[in-house]
C-alpha cells in the first residue's frame, strides 16, 4: 500500500495527464461520421507509433558492447518506424480516395 501511495505521489502529474487525456480522447472523436471510421482508426494507429520515441531512447542508452540490447533496440526502432511512416502514408492514401469519391 505504501509503495502504491508513493508511486502515486511521485507521478501525480503524469497521472493527471492520463486521466485528462482519456476524457479528451473520448470527446475529440465522439461525433465522427461512419465513413471516416477506417481512416480515423488508421490515423490513430499512426499516432500510437510515438512508441518509437521509447525505442530511440532505449537504443541511444545502450552501451556499445551490449550486443543483445543493440540488436533488440535496432529491431524495435525499425518496427516503430514502419508503424509511424506506413501508418501516416496509408491514412493519406485512404483519405485521398475519399476525396475522389465524395462530391
Amino acid at each position: 500500500m505504501d509503495t502504491l501511495l508513493a508511486f502515486f505521489h511521485q507521478h501525480t502529474e503524469l497521472i493527471y495527464i492520463v486521466i485528462l487525456s482519456i476524457f479528451l480522447g473520448v470527446e475529440v472523436i465522439s461525433r465522427v461520421p461512419s465513413v471516416l471510421h477506417t481512416p480515423l482508426m488508421s490515423g490513430a494507429n499512426a499516432i500510437h507509433g510515438v512508441v518509437i520515441i521509447g525505442a530511440i531512447i532505449v537504443m541511444g542508452k545502450a552501451e556499445p558492447d551490449n550486443i543483445p540490447a543493440l540488436i533488440i533496440g535496432f529491431l524495435a526502432v525499425i518496427l516503430g518506424t514502419i508503424n509511424v511512416v506506413g501508418g501516416f502514408v496509408v491514412t493519406d492514401r485512404m483519405l485521398e480516395m475519399f476525396k475522389g469519391k465524395k462530391k
Binding site: 479528451l24 461525433r31 480515423l40 531512447i57 532505449v58 533488440i72 502514408v89 483519405l95
Partner: protein, 283 residues
C-alpha cells in the same frame, strides 16, 4: 539546459498536434490535413528526441544505428503503404499496428534488465509487455485472416482456455515479486511474454472475418495503452498523451464501429465462440 527546455516545448507541440490531428481526422473536410498535422508533430518529436534527449546529461549514443534503423523502417513502411491495394488497407493497418505492439514489448524486454524488481516501474513494464505482445500477435492473426491466409478456428471451451491463460499471466506476474532468484525471474518474464503472444493468437482466431475491423480497432487502442506505458517509463509526456489519446479514442471508435454494424462489442468478442450460437446471435 537550453536543449532540454526546447525538447519540452517540442513535446508539448507534438502532443497538441496529436489532439488537433485526431480532431481534424473526425471531420470529412479537414481529415486529410489532420493526418498531415499529426505526422508533422511526430516528425518533430522524433528529431527532437534524437538530437536533444539527454541521459544523465549525456546525449544519445549509437546515432548511426538509430539512423540506419529509421531509414530501413521508412523505406519498408512507405513502399508497403504505397503498394497495398485500396481494398487491402485494413489488413495493412493491422500489420502496422502489430509492429507498434511489438516495438512496445521489445522496449520492455530491454528495460527489464535495468530496473530493480521493487521499483513500481516494473509493473508498468509488465503491462507494456503483455499488452504489446497481445496486440502484436492478435494483429498478425487479424492480418492473416483478412488476407485470407488464416481460416477461422475455434474449439470447444476456447473461452475457458483463454481465461485460464489470462489468469496464468496475472498469477505469474504476481509471482515475479515474491523474491525469486534472478534466473527464475528472467525465466518467468519470458514465460509471461510467450503466454501473452499465445493469448493474442487465441483471442483473435475465433472471431469472424466480417468483424475483423472492429477487432483491429480494439487492438489499435491496446497498442495505444502500451505506448502510454512507455511514456510513464521514460517520464515522456508526448508518448503518454499520444498513447492514452489513441487508447481512449480507439476504444470509443471500436464501440462506434460496433454500433454502425448494429452489434454490441460483447457480441463481437464473445458471440463468435462456439460457431453455431454465434451465427444465431449475430443479428
Amino acid at each position: 539546459m537550453i536543449g532540454s527546455s526546447i525538447l519540452s516545448i517540442i513535446y508539448l507541440v507534438g502532443s497538441v498536434t496529436f489532439i488537433l490531428g485526431l480532431k481534424m481526422l473526425s471531420r470529412p473536410d479537414t481529415a486529410r490535413k489532420g493526418n498531415l498535422v499529426a505526422a508533422a508533430g511526430m516528425l518533430l518529436a522524433i528529431l527532437g528526441t534524437i538530437f536533444l534527449y539527454r541521459v544523465n546529461g549525456e546525449p544519445l549514443h549509437n546515432l548511426g544505428w538509430i539512423f540506419a534503423a529509421l531509414a530501413i523502417g521508412s523505406i519498408a513502411g512507405v513502399s508497403a503503404a504505397r503498394k497495398v491495394k485500396m481494398t487491402a488497407m485494413p489488413e495493412m493497418v493491422s500489420l502496422f499496428n502489430g509492429m507498434g505492439g511489438a516495438c512496445a514489448a521489445l522496449i520492455s524486454i530491454i528495460e527489464f534488465a535495468h530496473y530493480p524488481l521493487m521499483d513500481g516501474m516494473v509493473v508498468i513494464m509488465l503491462l507494456s509487455l503483455v499488452i504489446g505482445a497481445v496486440s502484436c500477435a492478435g494483429s498478425i492473426i487479424a492480418y492473416g485472416k483478412l488476407a485470407g491466409k488464416i481460416k477461422d478456428f475455434s474449439f470447444n471451451g476456447q473461452h475457458i482456455v483463454n481465461l485460464l491463460i489470462l489468469g496464468a499471466i496475472v498469477i505469474l506476474s504476481v509471482l515475479l515479486f515474491t523474491g525469486l532468484s534472478s534466473a527464475a525471474v528472467t525465466a518467468l518474464f519470458y514465460t509471461i511474454c510467450a503466454l501473452s503472444l499465445v493469448y493474442g493468437v487465441l483471442f483473435v482466431l475465433p472471431i469472424g472475418g466480417a468483424d475483423m475491423p472492429v477487432v483491429i480497432s480494439l487492438l489499435n487502442s491496446f497498442t495505444g495503452v502500451a505506448a502510454a506505458c512507455g511514456g510513464f517509463l521514460y517520464d515522456n509526456p508526448v508518448m503518454l498523451t499520444g498513447g492514452i489519446l489513441v487508447g481512449s479514442a480507439g476504444t470509443i471508435l471500436t464501440i462506434l464501429m460496433c454500433n454502425a454494424m448494429n452489434r454490441s462489442l460483447k457480441n463481437v468478442l464473445i458471440g463468435s465462440f462456439g460457431g453455431a450460437t454465434a451465427a444465431a446471435g449475430g443479428g
